[in-house]
């Protein structure tokens, strides 16, 4: 994926998931201040990015990301590392398990 393609995909995720306007998602835009996202939104974004990167993101590295441009660079670096095996990636978190009461 080229950098432009990554930016386009990130823009798509942000617009679809958080009802942002496409022109708000500029490389300089800060995720938490200007785009008004919060820590739960960030988890959501990184879960969706697994589909592009094929990797489970390192939480420490993910926390360092502050702008859209940094997010693009983060995805680039992840892709460059190569995909993880399904075992290494683990399953994407299922939010239904947070509230399910049935053990069966």
């Amino acid at each position: 994926m080229t950098r432009d393609e990554i930016l386009a995909r990130i823009t798509e995720i942000l617009v679809d998931s958080f009802e942002l306007e496409p022109d708000e998602v500029t490389p300089e835009a800060t995720l938490y201040e200007e785009l008004d996202l919060d820590s739960i939104d960030a988890i959501d974004i990184f879960v969706q990015l697994r589909e592009i990167t094929g990797r489970r993101p390192d939480p420490e590295e993910a926390r360092e990301v502050r702008t859209v441009d940094e997010l693009v660079k983060f995805v680039e670096a992840e892709i460059a590392k190569g995909p993880q095996s399904p075992d290494e990636m683990g399953a994407a978190p299922d939010p239904r398990e947070l509230f399910g009461k049935d053990d069966d």
Binding site: E19, D36, S39, G100, K101
Partner: protein
């Protein structure tokens, strides 16, 4: 009793198409095959049957109701989600306004420590105009009888006076009147005694919310709007207080007044089990307890009991509401119950009927609904858990106007912004939306827990200062502190950010008002993520 095939010939072909050839071959004359069998012809079961007839008209529906008589039942007061459902999904607007009472919101009164305040002296929270969002006071006996009649006339196979036995969920069969019913879906709306919950061992006890209740129907209860005090009547301006669900609030318990029409009023007591002394579950014992409260006594001088009922433990949970793989669902009290303070029972029924109808529709169209049922189930569990947080360990603050003014406004703001809004918009049937809600669920639960702690700390503070009852006389609040300015937005196509800003406003209201009572007001306005951090 007319067999299903004779009454619904057109749909018998549909049934035949959906069943494997070997099912019910042996004794065809005594086998009923149906797409959806609903156990229980009460409110929940009848509403589901009606919704299925309206939205999945090809589905054959059987309702089995044990009791031949429709009697009064608790759960008369509906709130906004249920009312919206009854109007938008059930098409019952004319019927409800014709046969039941429109409700003028929830209303709350506060008393002195000695419980001797006159009604007109009590502090009050409640609107002074008819609410912009409709709700109803249901005469459950009439409603259920009418729904049964409407459903039977609409092609539902209604079996009255028949009990379901020998439930076999693997085979999806049960027996009724010596006939075997094979149902593609089995839905249980039989209330607390739920056959299906017992069969699947679904019931979960809730040991940390020990609330009990006793209630009955009475004639001769005084009308709130006939109280001989012009200034007091003028205070509520355009609204008839008598049509509200009126709560008299005390530390650890509350008393309800709900009008049912035809001169009948439902009176009830809900509270910690310690309040329920010996003899209180008799007509005289109940009335005697009520008469210990001056304002309540002034309303029931001429009250004559018609019936009396009670539960010793109100709240319980369920391991599951729906199972898409095994094709069963629980409705209403057959599933779970939280607490009646904000009348949430019919809200739960509305959601359960909506979800079950959607699962049946998809299943009959050939979709595997096991995964979707899990999502709906998780959302119901989230709704249940979040609702419990409104009440758990919070009854001690119920008797203080200062505390409850804040809690009532705060809870109403959250209800309109976070629950009513998406349901009016139909988002509760969108899996993507539900996943997002569930992902944010722990944050919501943490924030509600944080506010619960704040209310408890504020209660303890007012108690220590001897200020718990300080403003229980003479105050009046409309109960819309958190809704002013944005009620018109509710149910419209709001942006996510707009919803978050409103949540932030409601949270800041709750925090600011509690800190003011604590004498800790810091003048700060927090961002939403700071509440998450604080909790």
């Amino acid at each position: 009793m007319v067999p299903l095939r004779a009454r619904c010939g057109a749909r018998a072909r549909v049934v035949g198409r959906r069943w494997p050839a070997d099912v019910g071959r042996s004794n065809f004359a005594t086998v009923i095959r149906v797409d959806v069998a609903i156990l229980g012809g009460g409110l929940a079961g009848n509403l589901l049957a009606r919704q299925l007839r309206r939205e999945v008209p090809d589905a054959s529906v059987l309702v089995v109701e044990k009791s031949k008589e429709r009697r009064w039942k608790v759960g008369e007061s509906t709130v906004e989600i249920a009312a919206h459902y009854l109007l938008s999904k059930q098409g019952l607007s004319t019927y409800l306004y014709d046969r039941h009472l429109p409700k003028n919101g929830l209303r709350f009164f506060f008393d002195t420590e000695a419980r001797d305040a006159a009604l007109t002296a009590m502090s009050e929270v409640g609107t002074d105009r008819p609410p912009p969002t409709p709700s109803f006071q249901l005469d459950r006996a009439r409603f259920e009888a009418d729904l049964l009649e409407m459903n039977a006339a609409d092609g539902v196979d209604v079996r009255i006076g028949a009990a379901a036995t020998k439930l076999d969920l693997e085979a999806r069969t049960f027996e009724v009147d010596g006939q075997t019913v094979h149902a593609r879906w089995i839905v249980d709306g039989t209330g607390r005694a739920s056959l299906l919950a017992r069969e699947r061992d679904l019931r979960l006890a809730i040991d940390d919310h020990r609330m009990a209740a006793v209630w009955g129907r009475f004639t001769g209860v005084k009308d709130f709007d006939q109280i001989d005090d012009h200034a007091w009547r003028a205070r509520s301006r355009f609204v008839a207080r008598n049509l509200s669900t009126n709560h008299f609030c005390y530390p650890g318990y509350w008393i309800w007044f709900i009008p049912l029409g035809n001169g009948v009023t439902s009176l009830g007591l809900v509270g910690d089990k310690d309040v329920f002394r010996r003899g209180i579950r008799t007509n005289e014992g109940f009335l005697s307890f009520l008469r210990e409260h001056g304002a309540v006594a002034s309303m029931i001088g001429g009250a004559e009991p018609l019936d009396l009922e009670g539960y010793t433990q109100l709240a319980y949970a369920t391991k599951r509401f729906f199972h898409g793989g095994e094709r069963w669902a629980l409705l209403g009290d057959a599933a779970a119950f939280t607490d009646p303070f904000y009348s949430p029972g019919s809200d739960f029924i509305a959601l359960e009927c909506d979800y079950t109808t959607d699962l049946v529709r998809r299943d009959l169209a050939g979709e595997d609904v096991a995964d979707r049922a899990r999502t709906y189930d998780a959302f119901m569990q989230f709704r249940f858990d979040a609702t419990m947080l409104l009440y758990k360990d919070l009854y001690p603050c119920f008797g203080s106007y200062d505390l409850m003014r804040v809690k009532l406004n705060f809870d109403l703001g959250c209800y309109y912004n976070l629950w009513l809004d998406p349901i009016v918009r139909g988002q509760h049937l969108d899996e993507g939306f539900l996943f997002k809600q569930l992902t944010r669920g722990p944050e919501t639960m943490e924030a509600l827990t944080w506010f619960g702690d704040l209310f408890r700390r504020t209660t303890a503070h007012l108690r220590r200062r001897g200020a718990y009852h300080q403003h229980n006389l003479g105050q009046y609040n409309l109960g819309v502190d958190c809704l002013r300015g944005w009620l018109d937005e509710v149910g419209t196509a709001r942006k996510r950010r707009q919803i978050q800003r409103r949540t932030e406003e409601v949270f800041n209201y709750g925090r600011r008002e509690c800190l003011a009572l604590l004498g800790e007001d810091d003048g700060k306005t927090l961002r939403l993520d700071q509440f998450a951090a604080a909790s």
